[in-house]
Symmetry: C2
Amino acid sequence: MFRPEIKVLDCTIRDGGLCNDHKFSHDFVRRVFQALKNAGVDYMEIGYKSSKDQFSPDKFGPWKFCDDKDIEQVAEDCSLKISVMGDVGRFSPADVKPRSESLVNTYRIACYIKDVDKALKLTEELKAKGYETFINIMAISHALEPELDEALSQIENAKYVDGIYIVDSFGYLYSEQIHYLSEKYISTCKSKKVGIHTHNNLQLAFSNTIEGIIKGVNYLDGTIYGMGRGAGNCTTELLLSFLKNPKFNLRPILDIISSDFIDMMAKYRWGYQIPYMITGSLNKHPRSAIAVMDSKNWKNFTEFYEARIAEEDLV
Amino acid sequence: MFRPEIKVLDCTIRDGGLCNDHKFSHDFVRRVFQALKNAGVDYMEIGYKSSKDQFSPDKFGPWKFCDDKDIEQVAEDCSLKISVMGDVGRFSPADVKPRSESLVNTYRIACYIKDVDKALKLTEELKAKGYETFINIMAISHALEPELDEALSQIENAKYVDGIYIVDSFGYLYSEQIHYLSEKYISTCKSKKVGIHTHNNLQLAFSNTIEGIIKGVNYLDGTIYGMGRGAGNCTTELLLSFLKNPKFNLRPILDIISSDFIDMMAKYRWGYQIPYMITGSLNKHPRSAIAVMDSKNWKNFTEFYEARIAEEDLV
């Protein structure tokens, strides 16, 4: 699939950082940067912008905060654009330098649909500082239709927003739903870039990304070897092997999977696991699955399933 | 997705047997049978019919041969139908008892497209013995269109064939290709049951099965926890969680994954691995990937990739 408008955003360090409290070493992040650059990837999302009043640097690694001095140690000014994610309510744009003083190119604001107005305010301030801006509406499989329609209209009318993402936080959606949402986002947000971010609870992250592409979505999130919270994400290596653009080169990604990600996966255990499959199939937040995967009881799948079903008892 | 015509065929013991030379214990196969029966699965494919002149019982376990006496030790006559696969040229229907003397209900004949005439002859003999018959045309991503059209017409005209399977042996296809093949099989083989068997090289086994369902395919192959050669298959647990038919019960499958399949996967290492991804993305047989995964060199992904690319040099 080749369209010149298609861009790949690798968010290994950002979404993968949810596996290790963002404690990647600078050396490792530098090597990921080089691998992505050499692979022809368009964006690297390097972490979160977070307020140190809310999160302690003693508990979280540097990629929870993305200070410019840390980014400068691992990245360089080149064709690979640097993106940072900010959660609504978790950071202040007052802590963000002007674009001219930072290696960061893009801010993606993550919010639940009820907080779209707050996200719009943040993107306005970040655009005034010179950044490209996206709004990522999380957990879209829980959004009510009238709220989504209103949010998309607001975003379309906000000239300081460059793009909008379809985000399947719970890994619940399948192709027909991706088709529906892609058509809705693209037809409502005609002047915006539209992207997709998927999770692999049901082994549908890559296929759902393809279905977004087929419907015209041009901004594609991936992570190396699928590293990400819980079941993880669409893999960057599958995306690059699928896209026909000759600018992409798979080899640097294969090399860093070999040198780093095989061992990291054995340690952090992201990927297809039955508890993540269960929360995905039930359209639930993966937090209960992540908790059980960290317990000695992780293999008691039926007990976990019964507990999730019990939460749904009609009352 | 609920259609009463939809049937799930679990081929864990058959396709999974390619991981261990079919050396499952009778006790284990009996427990898989019970789990599938309690889960409401329609068919259990229990192994291959193979000639002992060609394959030694010293080297292969019982499920390479599927003698009726072995099947009788693990299965019973009930709503769960027993299926056996026979490869063209690897067994003789003379070794097959009449249906009335066997617990087997169904024979699936696997062949490459060049051998469809041989498959038709075998199905004719098996139908005369009383069995339900399917033809599984393997490696469909290598089939030339005129050959496929001719084969499907022949199958449609053979009244002793009950069904035909779309088989993505190399795990190469994605949704648009599954749509195309599903429409072709269903429109050509109007009087036949049409099924789909997928491999997970590109993490598309489940999604491609869904795309087959959307286009009207009713016979769905799965394996427990995806166990199968190389990257493995569409998982039975994902299929049952997706299908809305209330006859399906996920719990027995979750239980046996917990008790057996987690440990077996650590031993046999089926599933998403970069060498299988590479052969899948290049539309190649997985044999080179299986070989490298059994070697100490398995993590040298770029070397493996370069070797596969080199095989494709224009000459």
